[in-house]
Symmetry: C2
Subunit: 162 residues, 2 copies
């Protein structure tokens, strides 16, 4: 298991973590000629600061604090842009969004959502994705995108819940 995944369930330096991820995201944007405009950049920062999944309207609330208009499209457009470009992920079970922790690296995240503390971990889903492609291939289905999400209890909450 890689380090980042483990980190999601442990205490760590959020500030350093998010600064590094943001820096990597900016590199990716530059390399691909993406326009990381103020709203978009701020939206990504917000997701990184939260370090968990945020609903579009929660993001919007924070954008408002930064002077942007309180209008759903403001948040949705920025979030959609980030998701389209692999800088954020959409968590369907939560109707929420989270910053991608591995921008640039092609990866198929499998999300682990704690029912109790709502921490979100991005586990490496390569094996999962492979099994999925196999199952789909067997019936001739050509996969474009997939969402692989699980709910349950993170290590800490398992202890707490006994």
């Amino acid at each position: 298991m890689d380090q980042d995944t483990t980190l999601a369930f442990s205490a760590h330096d959020h500030a350093a973590c998010r600064a590094a991820t943001l820096a990597r995201a900016e590199e990716v944007a530059r390399a691909r000629n993406l326009r990381l405009t103020p709203v978009r950049r701020r939206t990504l920062e917000i997701l990184l600061e939260a370090h968990k999944a945020l609903g579009a309207y929660e993001v919007l609330d924070r954008l408002v604090e930064d002077g942007f208009a309180r209008q759903p499209p403001v948040a949705y457009r920025a979030l959609d842009f980030l998701v389209e470009n692999g800088l954020a992920h959409r968590i369907r079970r939560l109707n929420a969004f989270a910053a991608c922790l591995h921008p640039g690296e092609p990866h198929m995240p499998a999300f682990l959502i704690c029912d109790r503390c709502h921490t979100l971990a991005e586990a490496p889903g390569t094996a999962v994705a492979e099994a999925m492609h196999q199952a789909a291939g067997a019936v001739g289905f050509a996969i474009d995108r997939m969402s692989i999400e699980a709910t349950g209890l993170c290590p800490a909450c398992q202890e707490a819940a006994g």
Copy 2:
């Protein structure tokens, strides 16, 4: 690959298919002492007739035709009951519901959603689920439930689009 999955993407006798599935669902309900009341039974029939994923309000529209009140809880309660008891599935990517095609048989469905014709197939996701449990176990996460969904093109639509 099992037969049912293949069937989802081919022409077949919908009427016979849904009658058989409904019969199996009724057996399951009897065996487990579930109360398959009129709304619930009718809701299941509606899902089976559609043979694709339906939004809660689409289900509600059809329930209204059968004399039930046009109130969201009517549809949601019936749908939630069916999902809770494994007689239907919730497709998160679509905010929609579909009848389970294998009621009673424990299974982990992997959903394949065609972007073009919106057909939904329930592929056997055992291998996928296993890979998932492995990935989760490695970080100490205890999975309760998971959703495995993919969008893409079904065989027929690949040809049409190709």
